[in-house]
């Protein structure tokens, strides 16, 4: 039996305001609230809210047969709470149907998995806490920001207890293999990997209303037909996209909502089943393992990290940012910690890309870089104010060492106690 796994990503950055170098150390507020609010409201009204209603209806009309997963970044949840609390309620309603699953991801939609594993673990935990808090269930499946994945990252995720991870269909990894199977991590078979079906996902996300597309117009009949006609052993089709594809990129008038509503009927007619990522990990037998020595993502043709880390500007910004990670961890200053998260969003680095600054609000990558670096300069000054650079090297290292060795020392001492006890008993 074939399974369809739908999953929608929801993330928007907190946009930075125009921040000049003479604002550094004078002004500690970095965000353009107006721009952010306007964007969030537009997306909620045109896409998220009507899409949620549509999905609720799909679940209802199919008696809970239709299922889908969401991954909402922590930043996005914060922004929803601030600008569009009604959408949180709407997701809570969906959560009650038990037909949706919320995935775990790093809170700040960040590149921490590549640059700082400690930070990565902290953010993932933060995010899972938040999801549990809001929707009542702790996530068991994981998807990284921008679907970034490598064996190393998979290992981290598995150690944190997640059973399923979502990755993209990268040709250089899969080779002749089809994305329509469940796979294993290269050396930790407990972690299952689901692979996005690139073609079928983009058919909806990008091509649905494209009049020049050869398969235009796309109907539910046709779409389900393609899936039905694929090779019979392939048992899962992963259709994943940004949630704003529904209603925002593919406008209401394109008929996208009607298309979605028709999907469950047509799928059931053809005896196709809907499945959640966590269920897929449990129920479907893996077809083999995938080795991913270098990180892959879901962007561009190369499917690598180059849209965020590909040029000197991006490298510089990321290195400067993550250089202070340890020190920020020691801080207890809440505004500082908040800014630390907001400044890590992948979007800021994407806007500095020469080849693909997707979604940018700057006129050039250089402008994005100038603005970000000014903000970062101020942020670094604030970190420095908490832990002046002069004591950082000696004392801070001492402090860190004590903290890190704490457990080791306890274990050592306990062993010693046990040894002495034994001696004492033997003496008796």
């Amino acid at each position: 039996m074939k399974n369809l796994c739908f999953y929608f990503e929801i993330h928007q950055p907190l946009r930075l305001k125009r921040y000049r170098f003479f604002d550094v150390s004078n002004n500690h507020y970095y965000y353009d609230d107006f721009q952010t609010e306007e964007r969030i409201r537009a997306l909620v009204e045109q896409s998220y809210l009507p899409a949620n209603l549509t999905i609720a209806e799909m679940i209802r009309s199919s008696n809970g047969k239709f299922k889908c997963a969401f991954s909402i970044s922590g930043i996005m949840l914060d922004l929803f709470e601030q600008y569009a609390p009604e959408i949180i309620d709407s997701f809570k309603e969906l959560a009650k149907t038990k037909s949706v699953e919320f995935l775990a991801e790093p809170y700040a939609h960040s590149l921490a998995s590549v640059f700082n594993t400690g930070e990565f673990e902290t953010q993932v935990k933060m995010h899972s806490d938040k999801i549990e808090n809001l929707f009542g269930k702790r996530p068991v499946s994981f998807r990284n920001a921008e679907l970034i994945y490598s064996d190393e990252i998979g290992e981290l995720v598995s150690k944190m207890g997640y059973k399923v991870m979502l990755i993209d269909e990268a040709r250089h990894i899969l080779g002749w293999k089809s994305p329509d199977f469940v796979y294993n991590h290269a050396y930790l078979p407990k972690l299952k990997l689901l692979v996005r079906n690139h073609k079928l996902s983009d058919d909806i996300a990008f091509r649905f209303s494209d009049h020049s597309w050869i398969d235009f117009p796309l109907t539910a009949d046709k779409y389900i037909g393609w899936i039905k006609d694929s090779s019979p052993d392939e048992n899962i089709v992963n259709i994943w996209m940004g949630y704003e594809a529904i209603g925002y990129f593919q406008h209401y008038s394109s008929g996208i909502f009607e298309f979605l509503k028709a999907l469950p009927y047509k799928a059931m007619e053809q005896e196709l089943n809907f499945i959640l990522p966590s269920e897929a990990g449990k129920k479907i037998e893996p077809a083999g393992s995938l080795a991913v020595p270098y990180p892959i993502s879901w962007s561009g043709h190369e499917k690598d990290l180059s849209p965020w880390t590909g040029n000197d500007l991006q490298q510089e910004a990321l290195n400067k940012l993550y250089a202070v990670a340890e020190r920020v961890h020691l801080c207890n200053d809440r505004p500082l910690k908040y800014d630390w998260l907001m400044l890590q969003a992948t979007d800021h680095f994407r806007y500095m890309s020469h080849k693909d600054p997707f979604g940018t609000n700057y006129e050039s990558p250089y402008e994005a870089f100038i603005n970000y670096m000014n903000v970062l300069a101020d942020f670094l000054e604030r970190v420095d104010a908490q832990y002046p650079a002069s004591i950082e090297n000696e004392e801070l290292n001492e402090l860190l060492k004590t903290i890190n060795n704490q457990e080791k020392i306890i274990v050592e001492l306990e062993e010693e106690i046990a040894k002495l006890q034994k001696k004492k008993n033997a003496g008796k």
Partner: protein, 417 residues
């Protein structure tokens, strides 16, 4: 394809960007095998590079019939023009130009510059070209800038060949809107009577369409390029403690020097290890010296005076940032020259070259904050400097006059049909 080009400047003796552009374009076009260019300038100095085109000096063309022996002509102008050609051209005298003061050969003396009696020189140039139009063989006439438009129009009337005018600048750029009606009249007439108009940027194209009321179909943009430097590696940057930020060009209203001074003031409030250099001369120079003193930054703000030749490239290569805050710049070749020697450039959005450059910072000329921010980022951030330097150089090296020449050629082919 034979082109009769009418120009005013040709390297090495140039006064502005027009000469550089004329040289680059003709050199790029000469790479087309069947291209044969004759370039007329008021006064050649004899050291022009004639390997790829033929230069005729207007001051060696007779406009009034004088009897002279072959030997005498040879002795007088033999170094610049073959006496046989002098006599051949003399047969082209069809009008009575005795009202114009001529010398013993019947030729007019030109200054070859932009003198007080510029309008008189323009009409004298027109007279010379009438002789050439009668006597030379050509397929198309190509006039560079308004000074040569009247001559181009006259040549078209005489020969019946199509006329292409090349707009390197308009009077709107030069005067920030306070146009000289006489100049405007000459420009407009040239454009009206031309078969096609070439502009150096879309910015200029819009001016030509909106202010000179030309039909958009008749106006095509051919962006300038930059001639590769043979000795690019000989320009090096001396390591020094202070960063150098440079403005280079005529210090006139058009170039927006005051915005540069204000941006310098803004940057210097934050950091001390930067020096600002204003290279060039012009009618606003003294005002700028005053302004720098008034802003209390004169100790970090330097004036070099007029630079030319190799000194220009040396200055650019020694700089860490090149700034061109022009209020209105039809094209602006100097940022390309700066990028050639690896100097990051900040250019105003109101300059034509902004249309073809990606690896340069673009700001509005009046946006002092943005300009200061960009200067600060480049001098403070090595990654930014490196990125602009390397990618900018690569970008500029791919902007070739050959490609511009191909576009001009396509226009020739179109007007001849």
């Amino acid at each position: 394809m034979k082109a009769l080009m009418l120009g005013w400047e040709f390297p090495p003796h140039i006064l502005g960007g027009l000469g550089t552009a004329s040289y680059g374009l003709t050199k790029g076009m000469a790479q087309q095998e069947d291209m044969d260019i004759t370039f007329v300038i008021p006064k050649p100095h004899g050291d022009e590079d004639q390997s790829f085109l033929k230069i005729i000096g207007a001051c060696h063309v007779p406009v009034v019939w004088k009897e002279n022996s072959w030997d005498y002509v040879n002795q007088r102008i033999g170094a610049m023009m073959h006496p046989d050609e002098y006599f051949r051209l003399r047969n082209g005298i069809k009008y009575d130009y005795r009202r114009i003061g001529t010398n013993d050969l019947g030729c007019i003396d030109f200054s070859g510059r932009y003198p007080e009696n510029l309008l008189e020189e323009i009409s004298n140039y027109e007279a010379v070209v009438s002789v050439l139009a009668h006597q030379l063989q050509f397929d198309v006439i190509h006039s560079h800038d308004w000074l040569t438009y009247p001559a181009g129009v006259f040549a078209k009337q005489i020969s019946g060949k199509p006329l292409v005018v090349h707009v390197h600048a308009t009077d709107f750029d030069r005067s920030r809107g306070q146009v000289n009606p006489v100049v405007y009249g000459i420009e407009k007439r040239g454009m009206e009577l031309a078969d096609h108009i070439i502009t150096v940027s879309d910015l200029t194209r819009r001016t030509v369409i909106e202010k000179y009321h030309q039909h958009p179909d008749k106006v095509t943009t051919v962006h300038n390029a930059v001639e590769p430097l043979d000795d690019v590696d000989s320009f090096v940057k001396t390591p020094r403690k202070d960063k150098i930020v440079t403005f280079l060009g005529r210090i006139t209203m058009q170039k927006g020097p005051e915005y540069f001074v204000e941006a310098a003031h803004s940057v210097l409030q934050r950091t001390k290890n930067v020096r600002f250099v204003m290279a060039g001369s012009g009618d606003m120079m003294n005002a700028m010296i005053d302004l720098a003193a008034k802003r209390n930054i004169a100790d970090r703000f330097h004036f070099t005076g007029f630079l030319k030749g190799r000194a220009v490239h040396e200055m650019l290569a020694e700089s860490d940032v090149y700034v061109m805050p022009s209020v209105s710049e039809p094209f602006g070749i100097s940022p390309l020259e700066a990028m050639q020697v690896g100097t990051p450039s900040i250019i105003s959005k109101q300059s034509g070259c902004a249309e073809i450059l990606t690896h340069a910072i673009k700001t509005d000329y009046w946006d002092i904050d943005a300009m200061a921010d960009a200067i600060y980022a480049i001098v403070k951030n090595p990654a930014m400097y490196k990125s602009l330097r390397e990618l900018g150089r690569e970008e500029v090296n791919n902007i070739k006059w050959y490609d511009a020449g191909i576009k001009v050629r396509a226009i020739y082919d179109r007007v001849r049909r």
